[in-house]
Symmetry: D2
Subunit: 306 residues, 4 copies
């Protein structure tokens, strides 16, 4: 029945997601939704103006929730990044806005009969993903946040630049909250087929400096343009494609952790049904403690804003 | 020697051009330049953060004109769209800004030794393209503006929506200035293998309404987000790819017209050397007059601001 | 529900179709079928061996007609090209083989409950496409042959090489039988925005020589490797993609012509439902006569072999 | 200066390499060479017949070594697979043929002034790669064989099917000769972020059975069609793309090992200059012994046939 993707929100991130999907021919049907009708129509027309010069064809529908009934994937990119100050860049600053929005969006998704996989980018990611699952009533495996798929990419980018190697040849994860309590699980990171911790010991690499570099990169993006879009949109679309093609890819995304009773980022196998399987990492005690702390932080916020 | 593309300007359009190139793997080397160092660094880091989740690899260099020495194509997307009021959307409002910038950019391109094809998106497109040619001293065939490649796309989109047909199955052009004096040369437009003028007569189609629709579309985009990016970025990248692959594609772009002694949009054959050949249209007298008028308007402005 | 494509036949053409689809990520599910189990398994495993080095994921199922129940498109590429002698290259030489096969394939498609669009490459294309429609009982619009989409491509290639222009900037069609009675409808061909007949008159171009060139090209391919695959597989996949994305693209393909009561190639609008609309060409009397002759030839063979 | 790739040999593998490059738009210039002029012309024309239905443009040159002077990458796919019996599938059966050919090809490459990266697929891969380096006189880092990049892919495919996970989420290598003395270095293989040896112990997985499965897959391909093409062509093109984009990707390919004084497959970092860096694995003693044995076998054959 072809590929149908919905994108909720046509701000910096949502419109970039839509453009990437259209320019790469990833979907046959794209449903774009935003409360700012003028903006979402502007983006839709602009994308249609691109199509005569593109090799692919995508049918775009605007602001029609009923069209999401048979969507394979819906990506939530609504938010109000202007609520984050350029200094603090605290994703929780968006919570009052997004937690109000999420109820409305979830209600309309439910009414539409949508039963695909919901990919949440909206921040604070883990909390909002949790709310989406509650409010839509979709099975937990069908609701996923992009979470630290972006933060992991930043870490991989930093390591790759430090060591002059393709970031896709570096493996490993940032875990926990897509926010300030996250951390790089260095015990999971390998490069040149060696645990990076060993390599660091041998060569005197400074892992803390790489952590700083990844963070500094994120900060440079945010402070330089007051939002970030390309990294996170690419992560979200890769996740959506894994669902569409049932690829069973292992990715660090925000998914429900039964043992911690919370949504946070931890690698999972992604396929047609969303989260198909949890991956069990062999973390160090210190990393376990950080994960627990991150889980507690998210949990307390889910409670606070429910 | 791989593919190297430069992008001057990292505003709405330039960053979208860069993202499209990186996400599609169109270039091996991308050189991004902007006077706003914080913004262009933000975009470059954001694109690098996308790379671990992309199947392609692009090497990005920031704010280094000397890296353009052996670039195949440089795309100029600098501008200050905020100078256009959302009501008038007059691209000439940007001229004071861009005409000052173009001198500096051209000087630096010249100093770099760049001898590829320069693709100008900066507005007012035909005037700025003309200035680029003058200031860089590059052969006229190597300096091209995206011009009405975008306006033609808007017309094709409008026709395709009206007649429920793939815009890539509609052929024809908007000609002249990439601005208010442009026009759809309906005599060049065919759909369902029929001149659209005949079809219009048969079926009572309202070509003027389609003209309005195309314009209204452009206006919807601009008024809905105060800039346009996806349509024009796609046009520019398609043009760049035609140069890179020496595809000899016929496209309506702003190129130097010897008979009119001016840069304006008229179909040309595009290849490795830029404009390889001019295409001679069989326009109606009315269309010829409009083209002349458009040429006169551009010419007077080139003189005025030189 | 993602994109699902079936490919019947894993000979030179079918396996190339499958490889192109997998390498470009055009489908999420690919069903490969061949009576030569060893060959189709070999191709499937070989494609799976490609996947770790490809950016896309495709799930491949082998020799299971029931998996075609919910396929969007099924492409028939079965045949026995060895029955064509390298001298005559008469596609009717394959008819005894394919007309027997088509019954069996159609029966199994019917049993599977398949109700998507059937794209036939198997030769003689127009006759076999007609049989497929009869035997499957699918609506006529859902059964299409690639027909002269390939022959048109050969003509466009020849014109483009003669005039040093992108073949995608040349427009026009070969019509009628995908076989010896086909012809280039030169009245439909335009290049440099001019009817090629006018250009030919002006510049002394020899259209008959171009016809010969296109034919000679086809002959060079067949005699040089005793089969042809890349051109026709690309045509078939482009057609399938037009269906998947409901792109309403105008293409010269073998589709049922009510007035002539026969399947032959004539431009049609292609979308999700297959043939969505017929395009009416303004052919010359000579071309009309050739089309009639081609129709008569196909018709007599459909009767003879039914 | 755009991307230019040469392909030597237009048999099953070479023509598939060429088709993949053209269909994906990976090169701007493609030079196809084969001693069987009729076959390589057939493939070139067939690919040109595909172009009107493809979104990319590639300029194809046939049988002109001088065009390789400024090629970025040349892929050698010449061979005579028919010399391998369907039972034994011993790649050394091709050696008398390929070792004669390689001298001639290398001589012509040298004469052309080619100074890019030479990627060898021709079998027996490690021996022929070694000969190519000797005969062309190119620096060792610029001559690479696809080697066990294919065998590794087969192992990844087998593991992924056994454990229902994306093969791109499994990491690890087959090492040594691209032939019967190769082996899976299970100590390098991880899946679900766990060493597969641990997982195997936990879950009672049979690694030997997976080794057999990978081998059986290769045998199924060869016995089912008497050649293999998709897996190896995809590996070669991925390797070429890593060179073109200077991606610094870690890949198990046949590269010169100074300590063993032989070409064999071992992971290396691949970039614009070919092999940029060797990766040092922490193999088990048993694996080291197997590698040495494989090295000895290749070395003795290089001597024997020099």
């Amino acid at each position: 029945m072809s590929r149908k993707i919905g994108v909720i929100g046509s701000g910096h991130v949502g419109s970039t997601v839509a453009h990437y999907i259209v320019s790469a021919g990833f979907a046959d049907e794209l449903v774009m939704i935003d409360t700012n009708e003028a903006k979402v129509v502007a983006d839709a027309v602009d994308l249609r103006d691109a199509m005569p010069n593109l090799p692919f064809h995508t049918n775009i529908t605007v602001n029609d929730y009923s069209a999401l009934k048979d969507a394979d994937v819906v990506i939530s990119a609504m938010g109000k990044v202007s609520l984050q100050s350029s200094k603090s860049s605290d994703r929780f600053a968006e919570l009052p806005f997004t937690s109000a929005q999420v109820k409305d969006v979830a209600e309309q998704l439910k009414t539409s009969g949508f039963n695909g996989v919901l990919v949440d980018i909206s921040n604070p990611c883990d909390v909002i993903t949790s709310f989406y699952q509650q409010y839509t009533g979709l099975p937990k495996n069908q609701v996923i946040g992009t979470g630290t798929l972006l933060d992991s990419a930043r870490m991989l980018r930093e390591v790759s630049e430090e060591l002059n190697v393709d970031p896709k040849s570096v493996h490993g994860y940032n875990l926990g909250e897509h926010g300030n309590s996250q951390f790089t699980a260095w015990s999971t990171v390998t490069v040149f087929d060696q645990p990076i911790t060993e390599l660091a010991a041998e060569k005197g690499l400074d892992l803390a400096a790489m952590d700083d570099g990844a963070r500094k990169g994120g900060f440079q993006v945010f402070s330089g343009k007051q939002y970030t879009n390309y990294g996170v949109a690419t992560a979200a679309v890769r996740l959506a494609n894994a669902v569409l093609s049932n690829s069973m890819t292992v990715m660090p995304v925000s998914n429900y952790q039964a043992d911690l009773d919370v949504y946070l980022s931890y690698p999972a196998v992604i396929g047609r049904k969303g989260v198909v399987k949890r991956v069990a990492l062999d973390l160090t005690q210190e990393e376990q403690a950080k994960l627990q702390k991150s889980a507690d932080f998210i949990k307390s916020n889910v409670k606070k804003y429910s």
